[in-house]
């Protein structure tokens, strides 16, 4: 860690950089990390989280979660809430992969049943869920149907035999965010996205078969609430987003905002932080288009899940219903949403940007599905393909401290170039197989870039969030089969 002037320790896992650190900071920055994680954070995190604290209308704090690393504009693992009347909206605060997120599906299969079929399952899913550079999906829809996808997400899927009845309610925001405006989406964005529903993409995106880790089943009662009951239960995790559609919406509006800032007299320390007042025409247009992309991402993950159900059904010769393949939950981790929060002694709507951060609403929140409301929202933290993932639960403390937000994953510590220098894709694939993880990847170079050593220790990240009380551990999930995009 570089020397950070005036950084003060608030608790074992919370650090604060005061407004005196940098001219223009409107609020302090808060970093959730153990001393070990803090010391390992790259300089970009501190630079970017304090830049974030300078954006007009930001309230309380600019946050960096325990998985934070150097991103573009916002740090990855960044959270910022803005006053809806005086604050801004920033495409760079959402990221290009709008509503990149995680989905967890349970099964009633045990690992001994699945183990002999892992290769068959992964190979079949690899065929059914296209992954890699420039892939197109099997689902063909018209322009007007794509409008419905943009507006109604998983609700549209439920009306078109692409979802089970209880799927929409087990997706953040009930399967679609309100306020989509397809007229604010460019022709080019439509062209990039219309053929991509049901595709995984590339980079760190994956589709993974996982097993409950019995040694790290922390809360059986909560697990039961989420349908995770057995110590060798098999689940499936999906990590992907809005594909080229969201990427183009982000690119289009970054250009619009880059020009608009002069008109609104806004100066930023990084062009990627380009922003405009949320209440402005540009701000409203971007929000309407961003919601379209967020709803497309929910739909993309839904179409993938239908393919996963199809694959399991085919391999185990049973209906997916008989395999109890219900959705545990679906969370966004790149998004900006209007939410009501209590802060500074008042309750108000704020625009919460989460870039590489997960919503973590606590018990009783009306936006949590009825079946989970008494315990809190499931929080899905995806790890590297070697080290596994976690299911956690949202807390009241997150509502009090972080606008209902927590971390999203491991966070990288090594560049893609360095990872490729350290390991060859084929060697990694063989090594993982020896450890009981069968991996199939669209690219061997890409596989090497996603090696576990390129990431922080996810357990340290999760322990930090648990110790901070902004999400609580439920169960660790160990990978046994992985498709890497």
């Amino acid at each position: 860690m570089p020397q950070i002037e005036n950084i003060k320790q608030v608790s074992d896992v919370v650090w604060e950089i005061p407004t005196s650190h940098k001219p223009g900071m409107l609020v302090p920055a808060r970093i959730y990390a153990t001393k070990k994680l803090l010391d390992a954070m790259d300089a970009g995190v501190f630079e970017q989280v304090t830049n974030l604290a300078c954006l007009p209308g930001i309230v309380r704090y600019a946050y960096a979660m325990a998985d934070a690393h150097w991103g573009y504009g916002f740090p990855i693992g960044g959270v910022a809430a803005f006053d809806t009347e005086t604050g801004v909206i920033s495409p760079g605060g959402v990221g290009f992969d709008i509503n990149c997120g995680m989905r967890l599906i349970r099964t009633n299969l045990s690992f001994p049943e699945v183990k002999p079929k892992i290769k068959e399952l992964v190979d079949l899913m690899f065929r059914l869920v296209p992954a890699g550079v420039g892939v197109k999906g099997a689902l063909r829809i018209s322009d007007s149907q794509f409008d419905e996808v943009m507006k109604f997400g998983v609700k549209w899927c439920a009306e078109n035999d692409l979802a089970w009845e209880d799927d929409p309610s087990h997706v953040e925001e009930g399967g679609y965010i309100k306020g989509a405006d397809p007229s604010k989406v460019s022709r080019q964005a439509r062209s990039r996205g219309i053929d991509q529903l049901g595709t995984l993409g590339s980079g760190n995106h994956y589709l993974e078969i996982q097993v409950v880790d019995p040694a790290r089943f922390f809360d059986h009662a909560l697990g039961k609430h989420f349908g995770i009951v057995e110590e060798d239960q098999v689940v499936v995790m999906v990590h992907c987003g809005s594909r080229g559609f969201g990427h183009q919406v982000g690119s289009d509006y970054l250009r619009v905002f880059d020009g608009a800032m002069k008109r609104y007299g806004i100066a930023v320390r990084d062009r990627e932080l380009a922003c405009a007042p949320f209440a402005s025409k540009e701000g409203k247009d971007y929000y309407g288009a961003m919601v379209c992309a967020a709803n497309m991402a929910f739909t993309n993950r839904q179409v993938i899940v239908q393919k996963v159900r199809e694959a399991f059904s085919q391999v185990f010769h049973r209906d997916a219903e008989a395999l109890d393949m219900h959705l545990v939950y679906d969370v966004c981790h790149n998004v900006a949403k209007v939410e009501r929060h209590s802060y500074d002694g008042k309750s108000a709507e704020v625009l919460v940007h989460r870039k590489g951060a997960t919503r973590s609403f606590g018990p009783g929140h009306p936006d949590i599905p009825a079946s989970y409301r008494s315990v809190g929202q499931p929080v899905i933290i995806g790890g590297s393909m070697e080290t596994g993932s976690y299911l956690l639960v949202g807390t009241s403390k997150a509502m009090e401290e972080t606008f209902g937000s927590t971390a999203h994953g491991s966070g990288r510590t090594m560049s893609r170039t360095q990872a490729k220098r350290e390991v060859r894709g084929a060697d990694l694939q063989r090594r993982m197989l020896e450890r009981g993880i069968y991996v199939k990847s669209a690219t061997m170079e890409g596989l090497a870039e996603e090696a576990g050593m390129a990431y922080k220790d996810i357990s340290e990240v999760v322990e930090t969030m648990d110790a901070a009380g902004i999400s609580k551990k439920v169960v660790a999930l160990r990978p046994v089969g992985n498709i890497k995009g």
């Binding site: 504009g73 890699g132 420039g134 760190n204 982000g250 560049s415 170039t417 690219t443």
Partner: protein, 140 residues
């Protein structure tokens, strides 16, 4: 190579720096870098030519829009390019490029990472010691 990767910037993404004695050469080098991130160029043939025209506000945004266009062509028309021949207009606000490559072939091409977008983080074109230079961070 007329570009070099900057591995310590934006860890989850890919940054590069390109340089050339001319603006046209700089744009060609940046196009080559974007392509190199997505595919091993040695596995690409140059069977398909595509004309790309871009008009923009200034030289910076012209480069941003040009590189974005190449990413769009990868998604919409499944085209990857090995060679670029770029002519930037004297006012530096428009260009015409001839891109040569071929449609994606998953069996034959050494595919790498899908580039999502060109970011504005550290983005810029400048002239230094007689050379045109650009820094680009791509979202992966």
């Amino acid at each position: 190579m007329p570009f070099r990767y900057l591995p310590d910037i934006a860890l989850a993404d890919v940054a590069f720096e390109a340089e050339s004695g001319s603006v046209d050469g700089l744009f060609e080098a940046c196009a080559q870098a974007v392509s190199d991130i997505m595919v091993d160029p040695a596995t690409l043939r140059v069977g398909t030519a595509r004309e790309v025209g871009v008009t923009s506000d200034d030289l910076d945004t012209l480069l941003y829009d040009f590189l974005t266009q190449l990413i769009v062509l990868k998604d919409v028309d499944s085209l990857l390019f090995r060679e670029a021949s770029v002519r930037v207009a004297p006012d530096q606000r428009s260009l015409v490029a001839t891109m040569r490559g071929e449609p994606i072939d998953r069996e034959r091409h050494g595919l790498r990472n899908d580039v999502k977008a060109v970011t504005m983080h550290m983005f810029g074109v400048k002239r230094e010691a007689g050379l045109w230079k650009a820094t680009v961070v791509l979202d992966i």
